[in-house]
Structure formats: C-alpha cells, structure tokens
C-alpha cells in the first residue's frame, strides 16, 4: 500500500485497483459476523481453503471471511459472487459439494438454499430472499462483500472518497451545514442532531478539540455496532476524519468494549493501515488537516456507554457520569470541547458527504431521517441484523423481514432500546419506527436492539431482568438511581416470590417518578421505562403474580411447580444426574419423583428430559 500524497495519487491508485478487478472473478465469502462466528465460521473458511487447494483452484477462486451477512438465524452463511448465490447453514461437510457443483460446474446446491417458510419456494440469489428485499442498507452496504482486513477492498468500493469532497470542495462550516441538512440524528439512542452537536463544538472558543467514537455497545440484545466495527472499520475512521476537519480536532478516540476482542483487533489494524496510507497523521492528502486516532478499551462497565462516564474512563478514572450541562461539545475530554458520536453515526457520515445531504434527507420520516440498523433477536424466525428506512413499521420488521414468530406461537411484545427502553405490545405493531413515535409509546429508539417476545415470556420477569441488570450496573454516584433501583429489585423479588401486595404497584410508580426526575444521567432517568411500560401494557400479568400468586407464562421460578408424569417417565435418570440438589429419586427404569421440599425450581430436569415427562405448572 503506498502512502497517498494527494487526491490525484489516491484516484490513480483506485483506477489501478478497478482495472485489475475482474467482475467475473469467482469469490467465496464466508460470513464471520457476530452471529456466524460462534457457529464455526473459521473452521468453515479453513475447509474451503483446503478444498480449493486440493482441487487446484487457488488462483481461480478468491476466498474471504466477510462481515455480517445479516440473516444470522441461518448461519453459517456463504455468499458466492459474482452470481450472488446465497447459501445458508453451511457446515464444513458441505464444502466439497459446493466446490464441485457451484464453483467448478456452475450449478446450485439445492439443499443449502433459503426456503420460504410459507410458500416452500427456494431462493437462489440473495436479492430474492424477502429478508433482504425490504432493507435499504447504507451502513451495512459493504459488510457482506469486503474483507474487513483489506484496505484495497474498501478503496475499490469508493472508500475514503468523501475526504476529497470534504477537504477540497467544502469548508468546515459547509460540512457541518451538510450534516444539519441531512437530518442525521445520533444513533446511540438519544437522537441529538449530529450537525448541531458538531457546530456547538466548532464554535467553542478553545483551540484544542477532540472526537470520540462511542463503541461501548453495552445494551444486552444489541450487536449492530460490533458488526460494523468488525465488518467495516474503515467507514468509522473515514467518518471521523471528516468530523475532525469540520470541527477542527486533531485527536480522536475510539472507545470499544473489551468484550469485543475481534472489534478491537480489526480497528487497530484499520488505524495502522490508514496511517500507512496517509489518511491519518500530518497533512492528510495535502489538505493541511492533522488527525490521528487512539483506541481506548472499556473494562466492563455498562454505565461507560453514557458519554460523560465514558470520558471519565478515557481520562483514567472510574466511570461516573457528571451532570450536564456543560455538554461534552462544550467541555468534554480533559475539559475541552469534544464531539462524541456512536459507531453507526460515524459510519453514516462518508455516504452523506458522497451522496449529498438531500439524498439522505429524502429517506425516512419528517423528524427522523435516513436508515436505522436493528439487531432483530428473540422469538422471531429470521434473527439477524437489518437496516431499514426510519418509519418502517414494527410489523414490517418483525413479520415481513423477520418472518414472524416461530413454532406457531403468538407475538406478545417487542422490547426496544435495551435496558432504557420499554416493552411495546401487539396493538402498536403498525407503529412507524422513529425516535418520536417510540418515545410516545413509552420506549426509546436506543442503539437498535429489538427483542421479540412470544407468550412464553413473562413481562414481570423481563422488567425484573432489566432492573436487576441496571441495579448491578448503576455506578452508585446519585441516590435516586442507586437506592431507587435497590427498592425496585426488592419489590420485584417480593412479587415473583409470591409475596406481592397491591400497594406495590403504586409504590413502583412513585419510585419511577422520582428516579426519572432526579437521577444524574440517562441510566437512572430511563431505567424506569421497562417498569412503566410493562405496568401500563401488561398490568394483568402483575396482577396474576400478586393476587393469584401465578406466573401465567410459567417463568417465575417460585410460582411454578415441577412434577414427573409417572406414565411417561422411563426412569432413564437423565434428570437425576442433572438435578443440582438431589431432589429427584426413584428406582432405575421406573418412574422418578421430585421432592417438592428440596426442589429449587431451576428447571434443569424439564430441559434435559427427552420424553417430556416433566410437567411444569
């Protein structure tokens, strides 16, 4: 890779890459995204490597590990280009057949194709699969076609093109105006207009300014930022360079969770590549812009996703938030003006500059422009990552893209916005998803986690789960959050242990009001959303727990009872071996019995029984 001294030099190199690129080149892209990786992407890529070598195809077929290909439910996914054949649930055993049938003979391996669950029709190409048809990828556009470790791949698809336009055709203020006109709002959750944030920072009198990319994606159930950091790291860096030019910063930071080791590795590599190529450093492309990026790793604290806590963490302190104002754009890192945006926001910037703000503003709704990436998980057929225009309805996302609820079960709720979000019931399924509409129904956009729940989920348990999570993660600095969460945990424990009282419901609402108005940061202020939304939309479930001492979804342990059906039990002793408290006894090959006094209701027997002899009521 040369060091690019000017835009002409870069363009010339890009032309050479294009001239060398053969559009008919056979490529095998093995998905190594967050969903496929644990299913064995690396072993599959190795199997391809070996098979290609064995068949003497090394020079003829290019093998790559790509970023997330979207439809995680059917991993490991493999995309064959240029035909765009999309195979799913591919295992190393399938590799010889793919090599023989598709790569050598040009045919299709029928059994590895996507099959429509309703019509039974099979889709050969990616573009025919309904999951992809309704999406409009901007941020995810390159994820399934590039090797995230190759700068050439990124440049070939127009990477770092926005620098020419920003540096040489626009003034910093014009870049900020473009961002304002595009209507881009912060994708981290709160939705503050990005252009306005940049302007506040630019107009601050201090000379030294900073940029931060918030990659501390801590919301349970969300993995969009992880997928982008792992799958297209240069897009984030490019966005940050444009931002540095606009606000006049010379140092940037990317703050990544240490739980994402691959994202750290890929970002480090991409920063090195960008430095070598002259996109980072002094006098970038002879524009006079000096900018470099450091990586700062999180150490396992959810609260550090909050911007002021994150800044404290980079400064070398514990992650305690500070009251705002002053906002980081006025006084942030080391007390200096700092723009902090999340991964997805930065990754949107290059395309907004390339295509123009009006193009971007034409997508989405009146107050929420562009697209949003969601991780669609839980009780839904097509779990995976989707990018849709703002304003797409929940029904379209969950049923058209997501393929509905598996196992013929019924939709109960969708949880958006992580622990700060709420649970949205069925009668809002036609709600267009944008910042404002989600807030109106008591939830938030958040970073983009979307967790679908069916009738087997207990909404009291879900709310309790989030409150427990937040209680563990509350930094303890302010009393309303620390003590409010402690009391909520206590009340939830009373309710699920069968000691709930009617007065608890009003008490919870009171606590929530106090926490919302008096907590220092977003963690405490929005912690009330899971409680209030479930109290509002699923009150009958609370009442069942409190008045009838029953958990209708059979989730809350103390309120359920496990027994063994003597007519079905074969006495295989699988449950006896699994029971952690030795509560199951009986003679081998005869029906077993659970001692209700000893039973801790963990449900392990229920899960290991092959014969469905364990009853739960």
């Amino acid at each position: 890779m040369p060091r690019f001294e000017s835009v002409d030099h870069l363009n010339q190199y890009r032309r050479q890459l294009k001239a060398k690129f053969d559009p008919n080149q056979l490529q095998v892209l093995v998905c190594a995204g967050p969903g496929c990786l644990p299913l064995g992407s690396n072993a599959l890529a190795e199997a391809f490597r070996a098979a290609l070598a064995e068949r003497g195809l090394n020079g003829k077929v290019v093998l790559k590990s790509s970023g997330c290909q979207g439809l995680c439910a059917k991993g490991v996914r493999v995309l064959i280009r240029p035909q765009e054949i999309s195979y799913q649930k591919v295992a190393p055993e399938d590799v010889p057949e793919i090599v023989e049938t598709t790569l050598i003979k040009g045919g299709i391996v029928d059994r590895l194709l996507y099959q429509d669950p309703v019509s039974g029709e099979k889709c050969v190409h990616k573009s025919e699969i309904p999951f992809y048809q309704r999406q409009q990828p901007i941020v995810l556009r390159k994820l399934d076609v590039i090797d995230p470790e190759s700068l050439d791949d990124y440049l070939l698809l127009g990477g770092y093109r926005s620098l020419r336009k920003a540096f040489f055709e626009m003034t910093p203020l014009q870049v900020i105006e473009a961002l304002e006109r595009s209507g881009l709002r912060g994708r981290g959750g709160a939705g503050f207009p990005t252009g306005r944030k940049w302007r506040i920072c630019r107009e601050a009198p201090e000379k030294v300014k900073f940029l931060i990319c918030n990659g501390d994606e801590g919301d349970p159930g969300a993995f969009m930022d992880r997928a982008v950091m792992e799958g297209d790291p240069h897009a984030i860096i490019e966005g940050m360079i444009v931002g540095a030019y606009a606000i006049g910063a010379s140092q940037g930071y990317i703050y990544v969770r240490h739980e994402y080791p691959l994202a750290v590795k890929r970002l480090k590599l991409a920063i090195e590549q960008a430095r070598e190529a002259g996109f980072l450093g002094k006098n970038i492309l002879r524009s006079g812009v000096n900018f470099d990026i450091k990586i700062s790793q999180g150490s396992g604290a959810f609260v550090c996703g909050e911007e002021t806590a994150l800044i404290a963490s980079i400064e070398g302190f514990i992650g305690e938030p500070s009251p705002r104002p002053p906002y980081p754009a006025q006084a942030g890192l080391f007390g200096l003006p700092t723009v902090i945006n999340n991964v997805e926001t930065w990754a949107n910037v290059p395309e907004i500059i390339n295509m123009g703000p009006d193009w971007y503003a034409a997508i989405g709704t009146e107050n929420s422009k562009g697209t949003k990436v969601f991780s669609l998980v839980g009780a839904v057929n097509h779990t995976g990552m989707v990018e849709v225009p703002m304003g797409t309805t929940l029904r379209q996302i969950i049923f058209d893209l997501g393929g509905g609820i598996p196992g013929g079960k019924e939709f109960k709720a969708v949880q958006t916005g992580g622990p700060s979000g709420g649970c949205i019931p069925q009668h809002f399924l036609d709600l267009p998803v944008d910042y404002d509409s989600l807030q109106e129904v008591g939830s938030i956009m958040g970073s983009g986690g979307m967790i679908v729940m069916d009738q087997t989920s207990c909404m009291v348990d879900v709310a309790r789960y989030f409150i427990n999570f937040l209680f563990e993660e509350s930094c303890g600095k302010c009393t309303p959050c620390r003590e409010g969460l402690r009391q909520l945990v206590h009340i939830y424990n009373e309710i699920i242990n069968g000691r709930g009282e009617e007065s608890h419901l009003a008490l919870m609402e009171d606590l929530c009001t106090a926490m919302r108005s008096a907590s220092i940061c977003g963690l405490g202020q929005s912690a009330v959303n899971p409680v209030l939304s479930t109290l509002k939309y699923f009150r009958e479930e609370y009442e069942a727990h409190i008045f009838r001492k029953k958990c209708p979804a059979l989730v809350c342990r103390p309120l359920i009872k496990y027994t063994i059906d003597p007519d079905i039990c074969t006495g295989c002793l699988a449950c006896v071996r699994e029971c952690p408290v030795g509560a199951i006894s009986g003679i081998r090959k005869e029906a077993q019995e659970i001692d209700q006094e000893l039973c801790i209701k963990c449900g392990l027997c229920y899960e290991v029984c092959q014969f469905e002899a364990v009853r739960r009521e």
Binding site: P34, G35, L37, P38, L39, C72, A73, G75, E217, G218, D219, P220, G221, A222, F223, R226, H258, E259, Y260, P261, S296, Q297, G298, S299, G300, A301, F302, S313, I314, E315, G316, F317, I318, G319, S375, V377, G378, A379, T383, G384, Q415, G418, G449, I451, M453, S457, V462, Y465, F466, F469, E473, C475, E578, P580, C602, G603, L604, E607, V608
Partner: protein, 153 residues
C-alpha cells in the same frame, strides 16, 4: 515481584495518569489478576494514590484482585440469552464445577463469570471459554464443553 515483567508493560506508556487504566488492563491480561506489589509500583510510577487504583480495580468488571482460573468461562445473561435459558445454563455449569459466579474452581482450572451481553444474540444462549464462543448451548452440551478443557492438561 518480577520487575522485568512489569517493566515490559510500563515501557509501552508515557507514564501519565490517563495511562492508568490501559496499564491495569495489560497487567490483568499478563498476570490474570492485579497483584498487590505491582499495583503499589504502578501507583508510585504514575504518581497516583493507591486508593485510586483500588477504586478502578473494584469498579470495572474485567479487573480482579484475586488470581483467576486457567480458563475463564463467561456465560452471557443478555436479554435474549435470559429469555432462552441463560440462567439455567449458568446453574448447570455452576453446579458441575461446584462454584458460584465470581469464583475459581479448587483445582484452579476454571473461573465462572457472567457477562451483560456478548453480542451473539442470534445464537442464544451463548457462552465463552477464554476466546472461544459456544452457540445455542443447551444444558446437555455442558459436560462435553467442560471436558475439552479438563482433558488438555
């Protein structure tokens, strides 16, 4: 205290107080915990009080003041894993190893931890042993996974 071992870490940094957390991360990675003598030395070198190091070491989850096991098991209790039986998975591992969350098994082989979300929600429930992910881990898969690590030595 092995001075050279600590020096190798300190030499990567400029010695400013904002280097504190990255230095502690490196010590945690290298030693598998934060040994007391090394922390005292770090405090001296960066001119920060030991109490600040203690507050950081006990605030962030990745740090441990006690030695961790040879293999670190992280069971994901993210929302999707919670809904799909992450707690049952945790209970099963905990009872098989005879340790509670946050502890290390007597033979020093395993430490058991939970994590807020590993980001592989599509394959819930998920767990990690060291750097390896395990997808859709039902309780019956647990013995086989643990055995792999018990056999190697």
């Amino acid at each position: 205290m092995d001075v050279a071992r600590l020096e190798a870490i300190l030499s990567r940094y400029e010695g400013e107080s904002y280097d504190l957390i990255p230095i502690l991360q490196d010590i945690q990675d290298e030693y598998n915990f934060l040994p007391k003598d090394e922390l005292k030395e770090v405090a001296k070198r960066l001119s920060v009080p030991l109490s600040r190091i203690y507050s950081i070491a006990t605030f962030y989850k990745m740090f441990s003041l006690m030695p961790k096991g040879e293999h670190q098991i992280k069971v994901c209790l993210g929302t999707t894993c919670h809904l799909k039986g992450g707690q049952r998975l945790l209970d099963s591992i905990s009872s098989r190893l005879g340790i509670e969350v946050g502890y290390t098994s007597k033979d020093g082989k395993f430490s058991l931890e939970t994590v807020g979300c590993l980001g592989s929600c599509a394959q819930a429930p998920v767990m990690m042993v060291d750097d390896k992910y395990y997808a859709r881990v039902t309780v019956d898969k647990v013995p086989k996974i643990l055995k792999q690590y018990q056999q190697y030595q």
